[in-house]
């Protein structure tokens, strides 16, 4: 098996003790980020990214991806103990996790969540190990038209799968593309949308945007809710963990189903958040105890956590093989790769074997390490959550400012971050989605250049996007996704004309 040999090679890359140290450091920081309000996976990784510039790319990506795994684990802690989802993908975990904590079964809920996370990530990593090289080899044949088609599919999926108004999704996405185009055009050297300002020459860096949108915006939202943390105390003893592990095999079907849902949603850019909801919903429908969901069922914690972690991990698959991240955090990791001079995409698997397989091997190890870290340090992180918001908030804002500054050593970026913070706050309140904005900002240049190259090849003829079966299929699929809201509404109307007319009336 080719993949297995490569994986063994990857573990060889990991043998450097410094890499193991960075892994543990990353996980610890990640859990901390996941627990604190206003610091999440995406902006946490963005803030810490500049710290890794002096490391080798392998060590850097190991530390950053470990932060990401840590944040995925950390989200569960706040959901279960405080009924406050630290991350959007842990919202579904609160449904059964917090009731369990109220009944004094917090330890069991946490142990279940962590084990579920571990299982989900493990399945997704297996998928990554065996599927990624295949996809990368396949994608080597892609030309500019195919790449643009895949970008198109990514962005259209947001429209088809988002819960928000499709017009708002597209508007947010276009804002991302427009911001990405500001500055010097790399092809013609012309200035675009700089309006005579030298500060705009550099364009907008998506790392600064991520820190503002997710970090500052989140603080403003938290402030509005006037949070007072009233948490349940957590004790995890080895006895509780063993007891949970004895009980969990009963729910093997739920675990496997959730892992599959998660992997699917992670590869397509649905992301961890819808994956966790979908998996919770499925578990509720299929479980024998479905009616008791919401009152503190072990299975109701297992399902969303497994799916969220599987989705978070499998989001790396399209990021590594095609250069298209499946989530904002994966997008930030992709930004890191670009800064280190590594071009994500199919060639990465040929040219940077050490890097790719070192990363994949590290995911196996860091999830084991993550499980150990969270199981042993929960009381510590729960204590951090009891620090009042009036102390935590200014410290987090200071950290965000530092993070925004270090991206380019530019003072102006701190102000830009603040503006993005206000935008993030307003967008959240009006349900404009942030993920498509961030992804468009990251991928804007690449999407544009593949579009231009395709147009050059065809001399401006759009038919190049249907020139061969492969690109035609992807583009058609993308358009189907784009018009999915219209299609599904039309199908509903065909099926039950009376009901949809009633539904349509109050909207007028």
């Amino acid at each position: 098996m080719d993949a297995l040999l490569s994986l063994v090679h990857g573990f060889g890359v990991l043998a450097d003790p410094m890499n193991i140290l960075y892994m543990f450091l990353g996980i610890f920081l990640g859990v901390l980020i996941g627990v604190l309000p206003g610091l999440g996976g995406a902006n946490g990784v963005a803030i810490l990214l500049p710290l890794t510039f002096s490391m080798s790319p392998v060590s850097g990506i190991i530390m950053l991806s470990s932060i990401y795994w840590g944040a995925l684990f950390g989200g569960a802690i706040t959901s279960i103990l405080f009924n406050i989802p630290g991350e959007p993908w842990s919202v579904a975990t609160t449904f059964d996790g917090y009731p369990m904590a109220q009944k004094g079964r917090a330890g069991e809920a946490l142990a279940t969540a962590f084990t579920g996370s571990f299982f989900g990530a493990f399945v997704a990593t297996l998928l990554l190990t065996f599927l990624a090289p295949v996809i990368a080899r396949f994608a080597l044949q892609f030309g500019p038209a195919e790449f643009f088609a895949v970008y198109l599919l990514t962005f259209c999926s947001f429209v088809g799968m988002g819960r928000e108004s499709p017009f708002k999704v597209i508007a947010a996405m276009m804002l991302g593309f427009a911001l990405a185009a500001v500055g010097i055009d790399t092809v013609t050297g012309q200035l675009r949308m700089t309006f005579g300002s030298t500060e705009l020459l550099r364009g907008f860096d998506f790392l600064v945007a991520v820190i503002g949108l997710f970090g500052v915006g989140e603080i403003l939202l938290t402030m509005e809710e006037g949070l007072a943390f009233k948490g349940k105390s957590a004790k995890i003893s080895p006895r509780v963990v063993l007891q949970v592990w004895k009980e969990l095999p009963k729910y093997w079907l739920t675990a496997i189903r959730s892992a599959i849902v998660g992997c699917w949603m992670g590869i397509t850019p649905g992301g961890a958040t819808p994956a966790s909801f979908m998996s919770y919903g499925l578990a509720k429908r299929f479980s024998r105890n479905g009616k008791r969901f919401g009152s503190g069922e072990l299975e109701g914690v297992l399902a969303p956590e497994t799916a969220a972690h599987a989705a978070g991990t499998s989001a790396l698959l399209p990021m590594l093989t095609l250069g298209i991240p499946g989530s904002p955090t994966a997008a930030v990791l992709l930004g890191g790769l670009l800064i280190w001079g590594l071009q994500p995409g199919p060639l990465l698997f040929v040219e940077q074997r050490d890097f790719v397989w070192g990363l994949i091997a590290s995911i196996y190890l860091s999830n084991v390490a993550g499980l150990i870290v969270v199981l042993s340090t929960v009381p510590f992180f729960a204590a951090i959550l009891r620090i009042p918001f009036s102390i935590i908030a200014p410290v987090i804002l200071v950290i965000c400012a530092v993070g925004a500054y270090t991206v380019h050593n530019a003072l102006m970026d701190i102000s830009v971050m603040l503006v993005f913070g206000v935008i993030g706050y307003v967008f959240k309140k009006l349900s404009y989605p942030l993920a498509p904005l961030v992804l468009a900002l990251v991928l804007g240049d690449m999407a544009e250049s593949s579009f231009r190259q395709a147009m050059l090849l065809s001399q401006g003829n759009m038919s190049i996007f249907w020139a061969n079966p492969l690109v035609g299929t992807i583009v058609t699929l993308a358009l189907a996704m784009l018009f999915w809201p219209v299609l599904s509404a039309a199908m509903d109307r065909l099926r039950s004309p009376a009901r949809s007319r009633e539904a349509a009336l109050p909207a007028k």
Partner: protein
């Protein structure tokens, strides 16, 4: 912003805010289209012009925001709450305004001194903590940042007169 001008107890409704944001989007899209048309949004001799792609982005943005605008304009029946309640707005401003001052002061004082003042002010004003509790946090956090960035990772952060006096 728009809702600050409101003098009555309630602020603007969500619908009005939706209209405002869609309007801003449309204005922005117009600006994008105008600037990119100027630099060449059509097919040049050697391929697509520099504004070819962004112009189309602007056009799509304009169309979808116009749809949102019209939908919200016609949507009168739905009772929707205020965009933000007055007390909530005050809490948000309590964070936002000191943060703006903090960001401006970084340019003059350097990030470490500005952070210390910002944390101290925040804890004293919103948390009502005694000075004995404020001092350690307001001093130790910037100090930890200093050690981490300037000493350990060798990433220089903006410094002001105090650091200059200390020889950094």
């Amino acid at each position: 912003m728009a809702h600050q001008a409101d003098r009555s107890e309630h602020t603007v409704s969500k619908r009005v805010m939706d209209l405002v944001v869609a309007g801003v989007f449309m204005a922005l899209a117009t600006l994008i289209m105008w600037d990119n048309w100027r630099i060449g949004a059509r097919w040049e001799d050697d391929g697509p012009g520099a504004g070819y792609f962004p112009f189309r982005i602007g056009a799509i943005m304009f169309v979808v925001s116009a749809i949102t605008f019209v939908l919200k304009l016609r949507d009168r029946t739905v009772e929707d709450g205020p965009f933000v309640e007055r007390t909530q707005l005050r809490s948000v401003m309590q964070v936002l305004i000191p943060t703006v001052v903090f960001v401006i002061s970084i340019g003059f004082l350097g990030i470490y001194v500005a952070s210390a003042i910002f944390i101290a002010f925040f804890m004293a004003w919103l948390g009502k903590y005694p000075a004995a509790k404020i001092a350690p946090i307001a001093i130790l956090v910037p100090l930890a940042l200093f050690l981490m960035f300037e000493v350990w990772f060798l990433v220089p952060l903006p410094k002001g007169p105090l650091e200059a006096a200390l020889g950094y």
